[in-house]
């Protein structure tokens, strides 16, 4: 199982422009597993991503909609992408600004399916 998770994360980090990928517990905002997160504060990524996804989830719930199945925070020099996974987890990628978002999303979803 552990190897499967690491393999899934490595599939994400193989996409050009992805700086790192990780699995985060959605409720606590803690790192469960990570790959190629050099130069990135994994704990900060975990906490901040869980916070953004949770707040967005509360907003969509207030709007009478389902929880987000994909979240994309775009910034000037990069992006934070997250897909919820079973077991109250999030699969997260930190990317450069020039990245194929569609491809990363695909890999994030695959990784999330792996966790099922």
């Amino acid at each position: 199982m552990r190897l499967d998770i690491v393999g899934s994360l490595e599939s994400i980090t193989r996409v050009r422009g992805v700086r790192g990928a990780m699995i985060v517990s959605a409720e606590e905002g803690l790192v469960v597993a990570e790959s190629s997160m050099e130069g990135i504060d994994g704990a900060a990524v975990a906490a901040l991503t869980a916070g953004v996804v949770a707040r967005l989830g509360r907003a969509t719930e207030a709007a009478g909609r389902t929880a987000p199945a994909f979240v994309h925070l775009q910034a000037e020099r990069g992006a934070l992408l997250a897909v919820p996974a079973p077991g109250d987890l999030l699969v997260v990628a930190v990317t450069d600004a020039a990245v194929n978002v569609g491809l990363v999303r695909l890999e994030l979803r695959r990784a999330a399916e792996h966790l099922a």
Partner: protein, 283 residues
């Protein structure tokens, strides 16, 4: 392309739904006038490949044939954002500008299309026609036959600034439902939002979004990503897009999930521009 060819492509797509064969299949259906089927194929392809310029180009051509030129323009615009040298998108937008009578912009795009793909069907002739029309102003409002779609219009212009919170998005799609402008404290300034059951939820959603605003700002700063520019979210029944028209305001756009995020980004850009103008006028 024969019906048999279309059958083969359909079988290939059924066997491998992630295949890019939806591109020639959609185009073949469009050329045969099966526009509804072509649109379905293009939309399904875009669901899998939302960042593929060719897929947006295909949908734009189908929409153009359906007479929905505003959406066609938007799709070509998205294609050019994804691939600034996309010949098909330059050609399409060039023709739309041409029939709208904006010949300099038409020429600019048609020449870009020609530069990107010198062999593209009809482009060299269209460039020549536009150049000729520019040299003869009397012909500028009478497009040459055969060079363009039957009718065209540029995308809806931005509305002028209007007083009153609810009017901030006047003239834009979803001005009263699906567009929300709020301040940094989560107070709704304009627009409105309804839940699927029709309940007004704008104020409740705005209150939650203030937290998203703060978290997004903090996340981008702490991860050294620069300022955040947008937050997009996809749910099983809706897509939403958040951006900050000004440093003290936040804009939310919500559409059902048949509207791709790329299109939401375009609509949000227009709405943000309207919000900025309105906020400047209200200051």
């Amino acid at each position: 392309m024969s019906i048999e060819d279309i059958r083969v492509l359909t079988s290939q797509l059924a066997a491998d739904p992630s295949s890019l064969v939806f591109l020639p299949l959609g185009e073949a259906l469009r050329r045969r006038g099966q526009l509804e089927a072509a649109e379905k194929i293009a939309l399904a392809g875009l669901t899998r490949y939302p960042d593929l310029a060719d897929a947006h180009d295909l949908l734009a051509r189908v929409l153009g044939d359906q007479g929905d030129l505003e959406r066609a323009f938007d799709e070509w615009d998205i294609a050019l954002r994804l691939d600034p040298r996309h010949a098909g998108a330059h050609k399409g937008i060039g023709f739309l500008f041409y029939v709208a009578g904006d010949l300099p912009k038409a020429l600019e795009h048609l020449e870009s299309a020609h530069a990107a793909d010198p062999g593209a069907e009809g482009v060299a002739a269209a460039v020549a026609r536009v150049r000729e029309a520019l040299a003869l102003p009397a012909l500028a409002s009478a497009p040459a036959a055969g060079a363009t779609p039957p009718v065209a219009a540029e995308p809806e212009p931005l509305p002028p600034p209007l007083p009153g919170g609810r009017a901030v998005f006047a003239g834009l799609e979803g001005a009263q439902d699906g567009l929300l402008l709020l301040d940094g404290n989560g107070l709704r300034i304009g627009g409105g939002l309804s839940a699927p059951d029709g309940t007004a939820v704008g104020d409740a959603v705005a209150a939650h979004l203030a937290g998203v605003f703060r978290d997004a700002t903090r996340a981008a700063r702490l991860l050294h990503l620069g300022s955040w520019t947008s937050v997009a979210g996809e749910t099983t029944d809706a897509n939403l897009f958040l951006c900050a028209p000004t440093p003290e305001s936040l804009l939310l756009l919500v559409r059902d999930n048949s509207v791709p995020i790329g299109r939401l980004a375009l609509q949000a850009e227009r709405a943000a521009e309207a919000a900025r103008r309105w906020l400047e006028g209200a200051a």
